[in-house]
């Protein structure tokens, strides 16, 4: 199998690890703001450290991606689909980095201690400012929806490549054998 057709194994490990983390994060976020029982507390307790983990992994992944170009998209892929693929990938990168920063900044603006648990606390990155909290809080919510919609498009497109086009794009990330 031609290794140039697949992502680097490190990129694949990061991708799937972060896929689980980010999808969990979106569900945890949606669940914690709509619950008033004890699960609200433990979801919140996971949300912050997991968010910072995603932030660190996203920076590592972005650096690795810039140093290791991904396999090219199939030559026969329609131009609009190529464009959509590139745009959605960079949107996903932007959200992976922006969402934790907005969360962190939002807690800072709300003058909350940014506790990650186990006595770990991050310094504030913005001054205490109620209206700024308001803006960031809403941005966190609406960008989370955008993140989820982009994920749906990404998953749908990946399955389309794997099941309909069968062009090896899905396998470039799963590491499986492309269909012939």
């Amino acid at each position: 199998m031609n290794r140039a057709d697949t992502f680097h194994p490190f990129a694949r490990v990061l991708h799937w690890l972060m896929a689980i983390a980010i999808l969990s994060m979106l569900f945890i976020g949606a669940g914690m703001v709509t619950s008033v029982e004890s699960k609200h507390a433990w979801l919140l307790a996971i949300h912050r450290p997991l968010g910072m983990t995603i932030f660190v992994l996203a920076l590592i992944r972005l650096g690795f991606r810039l140093a290791h170009p991904p396999p090219p998209l199939p030559a026969d892929l329609p131009e609009w689909q190529k464009l959509a693929a590139h745009a959605s990938h960079w949107l996903l990168y932007a959200l992976m980095i922006a969402m934790p920063l907005i969360g962190w900044g939002m807690l800072s603006a709300g003058n909350y201690p940014v506790t990650l648990g186990a006595g770990l606390r991050l310094p504030p990155i913005l001054p205490a400012d109620g209206p700024l909290f308001g803006w960031l809080r809403d941005a966190h919510r609406y960008l989370a929806w955008l993140f989820f919609l982009t994920f749906l498009a990404h998953m749908g497109a990946a399955l389309m490549h794997g099941l309909i086009r069968r062009d090896g794009v899905l396998q470039s990330m799963t590491g499986g054998k492309p269909p012939v």
């Binding site: 606390r121 998953m155 749908g156």
Partner: protein, 359 residues
Amino acid sequence: MHEPENRRPPAHTAWRWALIGVAVVGAAAAFGYVGGWLAPDRLTPKRIIDALQNNAGVYPGYRRNHPKGVCVMGRFESSGALSPYSAAQLFSPGTSTPVVGRLAIPGGNPYAGDSSAPIRSFALRFDMADGEQWRTGMNAMPVFPVTTAKSFYDLQVATHPDPATGKPDPQKAGAFFSAHPEAGPFLAWIKTAKPSASYTTETYRSLNAFYLRDKAGQKHAVRWQVVPEHPETGDGGPAAGDTDYLAADLAKRLGQGPVRWHLQMILATDGDPIDDATKIWPDDRQVVDAGTVVIDRMEAQANGPCRDVNYDPTILPQGIEVSNDPLLVARSAAYADSYRRRTTEEAHVPGTAQPKEKQ
């Protein structure tokens, strides 16, 4: 990549598309369920705050509960007596910790008269030297009326003012209370409770229980209260018709010097209810005087330092922990929604409620 001509067209294309559709729609539905859009019956922070707004009206920029109040500033001077029970740094002997507090009256109307309810509340944020915080919201009453968030929500619905009379329907309220015998101690108390003429003469209680954790890792269940150092009632109460006497009284007292409360920790013994704020603990429980809350300044809340503080009672330093009291998590969740609403209103985020034009 594989050349297109090498690829066989896939069999069962319709089924393959259906599979993709199921995956995408399934994921969206799961998200919709967890996010509450597909579960409209779930009790959410939004529904609790909507119920409060539904009873009192929407006052953009204000807290959705206890919106009328004043900011107070000062410090907490630790006696050191609590340091064997809690590792929190603010309880070490001789430590002075700045506080930003808020004295308020209950209800949802920021223009309500000070005598509209016989309850006052005191919220405090302790800003510890290492950046940790302790936030607490206390009420001048012995117990809370209900045990759970669901009952609190039902209470709001049952006491919704009748549009005809402006008062709750006594039948609905009566039906609620007969279905909620746990409200007995609260009802017995409020029957004889009178609105105090001063914020400074009241004892404010955490109502919910918490755990202290000492340096050895041992947990101690507690409730706390701040007890006025000089609980005298002063010069006989407000003039008739005065609806804003509490802030004026506080200004007058602070003009004469700082006002002090003792922070007392009440230690539970085995069998005391830790998860039920409707139950009074017996009087003979051990009380530890943790130190003195000294308030020396006040400021109107419109631009005061307490305005943008969410007094979420689950924001605790190392050495204090939440108990299993279901109200604590619910307060945290609901306060967060109230805070989101009022800060987005303050920020004039498009689509948020805005104050009506001044006449």
